[in-house]
């Protein structure tokens, strides 16, 4: 039996309701995964994450390899034990961070030589090394090692990259993982619908436990991302879970689910929280705004998170303006709760076959136009 199982429970249009099973438990989908880059979701304890109902978080192979080192974590009992997290963990392969964080990369078919963003020391990462790191970390879901092409990129650059990426993904699959670990493949192809199809054809014979769509949310406009999603998601096998990597805004989550995506991750709710930008059902708010100085209301009256149940906008503004550590924590609790709550509302809407109504109501409340209108505007 496969270590990672996906059960598709029902559909509403392209939107899917499902369950992803790992050794650590069942993850209802659609689901958002909080990002825990360096063996911690910044500012939160595992209990904070449990309290908001997060069944799975994301860890970062590149960061953990650089510091404190995957072997150290393995010695300490693996990533779950090290950070005290009993839920599931998905680790990314490091491919994206090698591209975005490190200088002086030297890419060859063998792998990537790069300098650490911390101390400039030289390192080498390949599909085999990435699998070794993720195996040592002991995550439940392992991502194949791929090349994530920068945006914008020419058709030729993307096509050339697909050859390397395909080889790397095959080599990723060839490495034996721990029995509880499942491997996800990653569909690349840049902003070219036909290259997306070509890449899927190159990969489809590899027996991955799930499929990710990579190379999006790299600077392209939302309409372009949705167009590529429209072209990519239908390629993927229905019976496998679909993961849109590094995405995104609340609107992106709604649009991703509308197109058949099951799981997401993004630093946006956590990073924005630390910068004082908060997500609410009525849109984004910047807590440092002077108009909140004497506002006794909660951040979002529709939110049931710890922060909204207990604190006023006035207090949250004071903590933010004063640079207090508690500001990061309370804001992060709120933003992640909002993201997880959004996913829960989407699951309920799909179960009730009312996803389309939910989507309309979401945009009306959130104060934005749905992307169809956006496309018209940008024509």
């Amino acid at each position: 039996m496969k270590p990672i199982q996906f059960t598709l429970k029902s559909e509403d249009g392209f939107a899917r309701l499902g369950e992803l099973h790992t050794r650590r438990g069942t993850i209802p989908t659609p689901m958002f995964m909080p990002v825990g880059t360096a063996a911690t979701v910044k500012g939160l304890t595992p209990e904070d994450l449990q309290a908001m109902g997060a069944p799975i978080i994301l860890g970062n192979a590149y960061h953990l390899y650089i510091r404190p080192g995957h072997k150290l974590i393995e010695e300490m009992g693996g990533l779950h034990q090290f950070m005290g997290w009993e839920g599931s963990i998905l680790t990314d392969s490091g491919g994206f961070q090698v591209m975005s964080l490190s200088d002086l990369r030297k890419l060859s078919p063998k792998g990537v030589e790069f300098s650490s963003h911390l101390d400039g020391s030289r390192h080498f990462i390949s599909p085999e090394v990435s699998m070794e790191i993720q195996r040592a970390l002991g995550s439940d879901i392992v991502m194949a090692f791929d090349e994530c092409v920068r945006h914008p990129a020419t058709r030729e650059e993307v096509a050339k990259s697909l050859v390397i990426t395909t080889d790397w993904e095959k080599r990723s699959r060839a490495v034996e993982l721990k029995p509880h670990q499942g491997l996800f493949g990653i569909l690349q192809g840049g902003m070219f619908p036909d290259l997306r199809r070509e890449h899927f054809d190159m990969l489809k014979e590899i027996d991955f436990e799930g499929w990710a769509i990579g190379g999006l949310s790299v600077g392209e406009p939302p309409a372009m991302m949705y167009e590529i999603l429209d072209a990519s998601v239908p390629l993927l096998p229905k019976e496998k879970v679909r993961y849109l990597m590094g995405v995104g805004t609340p609107e992106d989550l709604v649009e991703g689910v509308a197109r058949g995506v099951d799981i997401f991750d993004c630093v946006m709710p956590t990073r924005n929280a630390r910068n004082g930008t908060l997500f609410t059902w009525s849109g984004k708010m910047h807590i440092k705004n002077a108009r909140f100085a004497r506002d006794p209301k909660p951040l979002d009256e529709r939110c049931g998170c710890y922060t909204c149940r207990k604190y006023s906008r006035a207090y949250l503004r004071h903590l933010y303006v004063s640079g207090e550590i508690l500001s990061s924590r309370l804001n992060t609790i709120h933003n992640l709760h909002f993201y997880l709550d959004l996913m829960k509302h989407m699951r309920e809407a799909i179960a009730a076959r009312r996803f389309s109504e939910f989507r309309t109501a979401f945009y009306a409340s959130y104060g934005k136009n749905p992307p169809a209108n956006e496309s018209e505007e940008t024509l």
Copy 2:
């Protein structure tokens, strides 16, 4: 009936077991008060503090006056409501911060004109202003406004300051507080035992609800502080609670209790936590030390705090070295738990009339000599 009551339950040598009663509850003494400068104990929620059994915290009139403003806090329902803390709060008067934080002070019998440490704006604080601030904050225990003389200071400087301080404390008492608020007087007198006695004689007719010993832990060696405590504590009325302000190390707490002090506050456990210095029953440890990198043990095997129950030294070192927010929180939980646990052990020892044995055992475990030996060494 007085808003703040103290019950002396038993004594063991000079050490006292008691209970301090406020509208918010009963505080067993000896007790340590975590410092919540800016309407938050840095990094912790009220629930974190409750979980470690803290019945009272300290707030800072100066800081809260500067930001966000005491009137804003009063509008938001007072400091308890603003920060969501249901326990007791003691606020200091701002006298110490005006001395230590602000530039360009201009002291007159009327009060102190000073520049904000945040933006240089000019402000004026007097006994009347300090009482107005603390009344607006709504703390349970209000501190009289005094002048805290720098160390070292000459006998003449200290004697001159006592005249002003005495006038300021009388004027503090003359201001009507809220019915639930009690006012504590502050004994000054620098490092001169006879001036301590003189100051008490100047103040003793004022009917304070409790007495603080101020002007210590300002840079003098521990032996000198203990000598001044020896000369000061016996002056104070037995039936009132005794508060040693801004003190101190774990050894200072033990020595303070040994001399009849009931309550303490200090930034040491919280500030040191953020700097990676942790207190354990075996002494201090610096978590960034490389020897903890692969150490699976808890910080302190004798500690029952959340941090010690859940995390390894290896993980705590990783969080600290990586500059993670969670590092501050977990370290702060541990250090405050240690301080509160130390107080609890002292209360139990006093109740069992074994305080002297406890003190000997504490020093043996903590790896330090008791102050008698320190004095000999420094002769």
